[in-house]
């Protein structure tokens, strides 16, 4: 670390966030040192428009080192005239989408990036228009043209594979089933996928900018609506960031409620996902059983919180309901669910045709997963130990005894098994949470948000690690709300996993990753 500190202009430590300011020209070297010598993971990278504070834009990159609870936040400044920075994508492939996103949203140029196409905005979005700049404006005519989508202001060249017998299959954005929109181009030889390029961001809703408009309290509602099936994790991470900004510590009881609900969310997602994978192999009975267990858990959610997606419980400073009072209901529903779930797993693992389809399909190697910074179930199935619950204990996780599940094969079966084991683990966590008593009120009155304060919030969602980084302006209103969904770093890994598989297996691979489009598209 001394090597980096020697280059630091300024450092600041806040909770477990270690801010290190460096010079722009040292950026490449520092990142390379962290990533190669220290084995650090690039967790996120983003730009901010802080011209109202000191006349500069800033680029932040957040690293974590295995076995170290700190977040290393490396940052440097750029000005409007001098708006290029050295790209680190060649060295750290995980940075490639972040850098393209910074370019699209803020107009800061990653110098030497191998792919300069627009990531976020599609063909008809005006050129040289950067929504996250504070002085950004767009005319109604431009907006209308963007919606109509005909004018090619940012032509996108799909990568092409040429050669005898290779043909292209375009799919989407509107798909046959009830799923989210995205566009995929397969280059196939016969049935085998040779190359896949995905184009996402159809559901781009300007969420990060919208946060700035809503303010911190309303922001909880928006955070819950970034990605439907992880609503609760998102609001936890968001509230955590804001609470850390104010310096408030939530009570033990609030922590217990949050831990319980976040585990309930993991449980219904994992069981639902296992059931959905059966739809990919045509095992209807497995699909129906999975869906039925999921439904009973969703109805439990509704009885507990009034929302099937656990919305409206988190508030800044704690929770507004004491879920722990509904102990009996949780116990009885879970004991029924676990019985049915065990039956389901027995059925699935005993069905040879199902297991054979999953085995060796959609393999993601550990090497690629590591390079791309893959997270969550996908990472753990490829042999990477990455679970924020263990590495950065938050809520009550420090006190709870549970195991981290890792497998090495990286195929669809491994991803299913990780889900299966984690679901059982969640049930035991919930039961042990219900056995204890916790002190304190469900919520504390939050302090005012100090001007220019900033903080990180994080959570382990059912899909992987999620981060929020929030900064306030001088009046304590949001200046920048950045989030990094787990899907954002897992999407680029999907083409690597499906390479060499047959086209009909793509939905199965896709289901095994189960990525959110809305969360990724911001």
């Amino acid at each position: 670390m001394d090597k980096i500190l020697a280059k630091a202009k300024r450092t600041k430590e806040y909770l477990n966030e270690y801010y290190i300011e460096i010079k722009k020209n040292d950026f490449k070297e520092v990142c390379s040192y962290l990533s190669h010598d220290k084995n650090a993971i690039l967790r996120m990278m983003f730009g901010t428009d802080e011209r109202e504070i000191d006349g500069t834009f800033k680029i932040y990159s957040v690293f974590t080192i295995y076995g170290n609870e700190r977040f290393f936040i490396i940052y440097f400044s750029l000005t409007e005239e001098d708006n290029a920075f050295p790209s680190i994508t060649h060295d750290i492939p995980a940075a490639h989408w972040y850098e393209r996103e910074i370019k699209d949203m803020l107009g800061l140029i990653p110098d030497g990036h191998p792919d300069t196409r627009s990531l976020v905005f599609h063909d008809a979005f005006p050129k040289d228009s950067y929504p996250l700049r504070k002085d950004w404006n767009i005319s109604d005519a431009d907006l209308e043209e963007w919606g109509k989508g005909i004018a090619k202001k940012r032509p996108y060249n799909f990568m092409e594979v040429k050669g005898e017998g290779i043909y292209e299959i375009p799919v989407g954005p509107v798909h046959a089933g009830i799923i989210e929109p995205g566009h995929f181009r397969f280059s196939a030889v016969g049935e085998t996928i040779f190359f896949l390029e995905s184009r996402l961001f159809y559901t781009h809703k300007g969420t990060e900018k919208h946060f700035e408009k809503l303010g911190f309290t309303e922001g909880v509602k928006l955070a819950e609506r970034i990605s439907g099936t992880s609503s609760y994790s998102y609001s936890c991470a968001y509230c955590m960031a804001v609470e850390r900004m104010t310096g408030a510590e939530i009570t033990e009881k609030a922590k217990a409620v949050r831990t319980l609900l976040i585990e309930l969310e993991r449980l219904y997602n994992h069981i639902g996902d296992i059931g959905n994978m059966c739809a990919g192999t045509g095992l209807q009975v497995g699909y129906a059983k999975g869906a039925a267990i999921k439904e009973s858990l969703m109805q439990l959610n509704e009885r507990l919180t009034g929302s099937r997606y656990l919305r409206g419980v988190n508030i800044i400073g704690g929770v507004n309901k004491d879920i722990l009072l509904c102990k009996d209901d949780i116990f009885s529903t879970l004991s029924m669910a676990i019985k049915k779930y065990k039956e389901l797993m027995k059925l699935l693992l005993g069905t040879v045709s199902h297991v054979e389809r999953l085995e060796n399909t959609g393999r993601l190697s550990k090497e690629i997963a590591q390079k791309l910074g893959v997270t969550g179930v996908a990472a753990r199935a490829s042999g990477i130990e990455d679970d924020l619950r263990k590495t950065h204990p938050h809520l009550l996780y420090e006190r709870l005894a549970f195991e981290e599940h890792v497998m090495s094969k990286g195929d669809v079966l491994a991803r299913m098994m990780i889900r299966a084991e984690e679901a059982e683990c969640s049930i035991s966590i919930i039961s042990s949470l219900l056995e204890n008593k916790y002190k304190g009120d469900p919520a504390v009155q939050p302090n005012n948000i100090p001007g220019y304060s900033s903080a990180l919030g994080f959570a382990e969602t059912p899909h992987g690690s999620l981060f929020f980084w929030i900064k306030a302006d001088k009046n304590g209103r949001p200046l920048r709300v950045k989030f990094r969904s787990p899907s954002f770093c897992n999407w680029p890994a999907v083409p690597f996993a499906v390479h060499g598989n047959i086209v009909p297996d793509f939905p199965l691979c896709n289901k095994s990753f189960n990525l959110s489009y809305s969360g990724c598209d911001m």
Binding site: I138, A288, Q299
Partner: protein, 179 residues
């Protein structure tokens, strides 16, 4: 077989119940299309094409849940279809992001007449929480003509079934009280 039935009766094996409020809540549905259009002849079987126009995915999951063994929407003669060419109803979720606007329009145009458009969820009705963001068009009605709205964020599967059933009744006997 008889043994199984007896066993079930004796052990009182219970299925996952329907949510209790299944029969309540009449405010879920708002039919806004003209009477004339309603009279143009659907009977008691409809095919729905669902399009996600930028939703948070919770609305979709509720639509998916309609086909699970608890709700089993097919028994009402309602089913989802893959092709817009087979569809009678276009069910839109999400606030219609600008990058999905074209795709939504194209799907609508690909459907044969007569057709109805249902906006499902607060987002699809007026943008919901995303109202006012630069990247959304604040609801499906700003892009294609909407005939009927199902409120909720997300509307639960029972809300959706109930709304669709009411719509079907209205279509079938023409006596609907159209607001």
């Amino acid at each position: 077989m008889i043994k199984e039935i007896l066993k079930n009766l004796l052990t009182k094996k219970s299925a996952i119940p329907f949510p209790e409020d299944f029969k309540g809540n009449n405010e879920m549905l708002e039919i806004i299309s003209s009477k004339k259009k309603i009279e143009t002849g659907f009977k008691r079987s409809i095919k729905i094409r669902q399009v996600d126009s930028g939703s948070c995915n919770a609305c979709e999951w509720e639509c998916t849940a309609l086909s699970n063994p608890i709700y089993d929407i097919q028994r009402f003669g309602i089913d989802f279809t893959a092709s817009p060419r087979h569809a009678d109803i276009l069910l839109v979720t999400g606030p219609v992001s600008r990058q999905m606007e074209l795709a939504l329009r194209k799907t609508y145009l690909a459907m044969p007449e007569p057709k109805l458009v249902v906006a499902c969820g607060d987002c699809a009705i007026d943008g919901g929480i995303y109202k006012g963001s630069y990247a959304v068009t604040n609801g499906a009605a700003n892009v294609i003509p909407v005939d009927c709205c199902i409120k909720g964020c997300p509307p639960s599967p029972s809300d959706i079934i109930q709304a669709l059933k009411k719509l079907l009744d209205a279509l079938a006997d023409n006596k609907a009280q159209i607001k």
